[in-house]
């Protein structure tokens, strides 16, 4: 693209991020590890999602909801991650990869189950390929309900972890 056109577009568009909503109230019953304050790297694990949640995660990390402003960032390796964002029902083929991914994430780590499928298998409960919800296999620290959850809900869950 012509750099001048791009420059004009940048000047005309300005800020696309929406104003930040009030910070969520900290949950005193399940405290978040202090070490993760202010900086959280997220590794996304799809264990059998319909990709609805993925679109919403993409939106949460996109320019409009901009969860990066609170210190959360997507990373490419579980070794770099503090939070595993698990979406979808756990299918038989994904049980082992899920357990291995959790094992490969250094402590302190949190597992966030995103969407109704991760919580209770949702629409896919009882299907032949489904092994169960995420909490049957790994300890879940936070849950984001919704089918699919709104980006605001994902942003709020991650803000609980970063505390910003």
């Amino acid at each position: 693209m012509n750099p001048f056109r791009l420059l004009k577009l940048i000047a005309r568009t300005g800020r696309i991020a929406e104003p930040a909503p009030a910070a969520p109230v900290a949950d005193t019953e399940h405290p978040i590890p202090k070490a993760l304050r202010g900086s959280v790297q997220v590794r996304h694990v799809d264990t059998g999602s319909c990709n609805g949640c993925e679109i919403e995660i993409g939106a949460a990390f996109g320019g409009v909801y901009d969860v990066e402003r609170y210190g959360a960032r997507l990373v490419a390796s579980p070794r770099h991650a503090d939070v595993l964002a698990v979406t979808g029902v756990v299918t038989h083929n994904m049980v082992e990869p899920l357990l291995r991914t959790v094992e490969a994430t250094p402590r302190p780590r949190l597992v966030v189950a995103i969407g109704d499928c991760a919580h209770d298998c949702g629409l896919f409960a009882g299907a032949y390929g489904v092994a169960g919800p995420v909490s049957d296999f790994v300890d879940v620290d936070l849950e984001v309900p919704g089918c699919p959850p709104r980006p605001e809900a994902i942003v709020e869950a991650l803000r609980r972890v970063t505390g910003r």
Binding site: R15, G38, S39, R69, A76
Partner: protein, 313 residues
């Protein structure tokens, strides 16, 4: 003794300012993309968090996984100590010679490449081979372009080059000087893994160079790797800005001179970093097979700079 103190001060200042430089670069990019950005202090928070995490190491990995991050960090700190950033003084026992600096940079490069191979993952090996290819193309250009600047001075000691350029303004804006600085900028971007050679914020393993080598490191190991590669950016970018604008550096322990030196370094680095980050918004990563063409272009510029400085003196 005074020289040693000055060099220690330079390392402390450069290390303290490095996360801020990275934070400013990310913030500039975020603002131009219409985002709010995570704030210029985010890299400090990232490093603090990484140091508090357990360094998880893969089963079957060797001592390299522990040692390579430390080797990279130490080599980067050494480069920061040798390159004239805050002071033009240097420790007599270790000359801040161009060839010494480039060799120490290569130690860090090789440590990173070995780290990529250590865990035996496919992406790590791919990253290492790409990294070595770029290193092989970058080092000659760094040598040639600084050599072009060293010819009029008659010494390949970096601090002497900076002092001589600072003393005589006509030396700064010569054809040879400009060509050499342009060539240096291109290779510094390649060496530190910035666009258009490597994308520092990518999540796509297949396109990664630097990131794919550190995929297996966690916690403390990852913190050292991040700080080590950020310090390389500070050192190389600082060298370029001090060669292009060789003013403000301190050569004595006078408090005022030191203050001026620290402030000018901060301003020069942050402005240069901001400009690079802004320019990156307008760029896409080039295909890996086009990278040698880009780097060959910068080598030609460096070669012309050497020719010009022989002809024009």
């Amino acid at each position: 003794m005074i020289a040693t103190l000055l060099v220690v001060l330079q390392v402390v200042v450069a290390t303290a300012i490095t996360p801020l430089l990275i934070g400013v670069m990310r913030q500039v990019r975020a603002r131009l993309e219409g985002r709010i950005g995570s704030g210029v202090l985010q890299p400090y928070r990232d490093v603090r968090k990484l140091l508090a995490k357990e360094p998880l190491r893969a089963e079957g990995s060797s001592i390299i996984l522990v040692a390579a991050p430390l080797v990279l960090l130490v080599s980067s700190l050494l480069v920061v100590a040798l390159v004239p950033l805050v002071t033009t003084a240097n420790i007599p026992a270790v000359p801040n010679d161009l060839f010494v600096v480039v060799s120490i940079l290569l130690i860090g490069t090789v440590a990173l490449a070995l780290l990529g191979l250590d865990a035996g993952t496919a992406f790590g090996g791919m990253g290492s081979s790409r990294h070595m290819m770029i290193a092989a193309l970058v080092e000659p250009t760094v040598l040639m372009s600084v050599y072009a600047l060293s010819i009029p001075v008659g010494s390949s000691t970096l601090s002497k080059i900076v002092v001589a350029r600072g003393a005589d303004v006509t030396r700064v804006v010569t054809p040879a000087g400009l060509l050499a600085v342009v060539a240096l900028v291109v290779v510094v971007l390649a060496e530190t893994g910035r666009l258009p050679v490597d994308n520092p914020s990518t999540h796509l393993e297949l396109t990664m160079i630097h990131e794919s080598m550190i995929l297996e490191s966690a916690g403390r190991d990852l913190a050292w790797l991040e700080v080590g590669s950020w310090l390389r950016l500070t050192a190389l970018l600082g060298l370029v800005v001090n060669l292009a604008l060789p003013w403000g550096l301190a050569d004595s322990m006078q408090p005022l001179a030191l203050l001026v030196a620290v402030v000018t370094l901060g301003v020069k680095l942050l402005v240069a970093g901001g400009v690079i980050a802004a320019a990156e918004v307008f760029m896409a990563k080039v295909r890996l097979f086009k990278v040698p063409e880009l780097l060959a272009g910068s080598f030609v510029l460096a070669f012309l700079a050497v020719t010009a400085s022989y002809l024009a003196g």
